[in-house]
Subunit: 218 residues, 2 copies
């Protein structure tokens, strides 16, 4: 079976190809000409589907956000929902780390990012957290997740034992971190997230749980 004669451009195809290009070569490599080449067309053709380059980037960023699961806020207690959401959020971002600096500008006018913020904030307020506290909690978790997806901690140390031996005595083993990249990065995320939630649960018990017993979800 031959290929379809011409893979007509669609917004979805453009977004998928742009995502793959950014994943493979970074935000700097993403240009309209380069993206068009990957799609087998010329640069100007993209402008029949998107008005500007930034509009394509917004679509890429929101496609990442649609993969984040916030369903826990409708069915589970706030702490379990936060845990599930944070892991899902991290999975979505680490799958496309090069777009994280763009995404971290905030939800702006992107629908999926706004829907995620709405679900998280709404879920926390419904659980009894004061509005200002709910905002802080959502922001703190975004900080943690975005930071963890922005760059691998383990791969940040070059694999050169001699670099560390002379001047950084405690980092003697740092050249081996890259060998264990996934367990280091995920272990750090798990430790931090668990500690964060442990601290939040303590505050909840101290301030919210004792005043009103927490309205049931839904």
């Amino acid at each position: 079976m031959p290929r379809p004669r011409q893979p007509r451009l669609t917004r979805q195809l453009i977004v998928e190809t742009a995502t793959a290009l950014i994943d493979a070569e970074g935000l700097q490599a993403f240009s309209t000409r380069r993206l068009a080449a990957e799609l087998g067309v010329r640069g100007p053709s993209l402008y029949n589907h998107f008005a500007t380059k930034d509009e394509i980037l917004d679509a890429v960023a929101d496609a990442v956000a649609v993969a984040v699961d916030t369903s826990g806020f409708a069915s589970r207690d706030w702490a379990a929902a936060l845990l599930d959401w944070a892991w899902s959020y991290r999975r979505a971002l680490t799958a496309h780390p090069n777009i994280v600096p763009y995404l971290a500008q905030g939800p702006r006018r992107r629908p999926a990012a706004l829907a995620m913020a709405d679900a998280v904030y709404g879920g926390l307020v419904r659980a009894g957290w004061p509005p200002a506290r709910a905002t802080h909690i959502g922001a703190a978790l975004r900080y943690f997740v975005a930071g963890s997806a922005l760059g691998s901690f383990a791969r940040g140390f070059v694999e050169d034992p001699e670099l560390y031996a002379a001047h950084y005595p405690h980092l003697r083993q740092a050249h081996r971190l890259a060998e264990h990249q996934q367990s280091v990065d995920e272990g750090a995320f798990a430790l931090g997230l668990d500690a964060l939630l442990y601290g939040l649960a303590a505050e909840y018990a101290r301030t919210v749980g004792t005043v009103e017993s927490g309205r049931p979800n839904g």
Copy 2:
């Protein structure tokens, strides 16, 4: 008194001007020609002081890192030292948010970044944390700080009430977040950091504090 005849280029002057340029206009605006123009010289002159553009960027990134204070690890208990370091780290990064994506690649071969990692990791191990745990704690805090400096949470929501009213019912007040940018962003950081440290202290008491009573610092 007239200006000095020609503000001769030095590495320090180049780095300071590059930092100001990146702060004001972002990483994209940072080019050798643009930087040279700010310095009153032509592009190629920079190559008498740095071999490549990336070498300048590394110098900018490390200049940010030298401002981070890790002295607490030499004088205070591990939890107080972590708290001081995290705030100092955050102050240094939020002063130059546009360089954070570059910095988040890790310490690589940058001396100040390596010295910071050495002090933090060494301090935690000396306090009795197992080496793997110390790595995770340092990484988790870097995630949190870098994420908080990468972009303001409060300024991520556009100031347009009508955007939220229709489809994001819980975000009805989100257009007002930008008015309180500093208190939202710092409050979220304070809440998250305190919760994180609370959780870490609980783990320390459970696993380290009971087994060996923690060697004194130094």
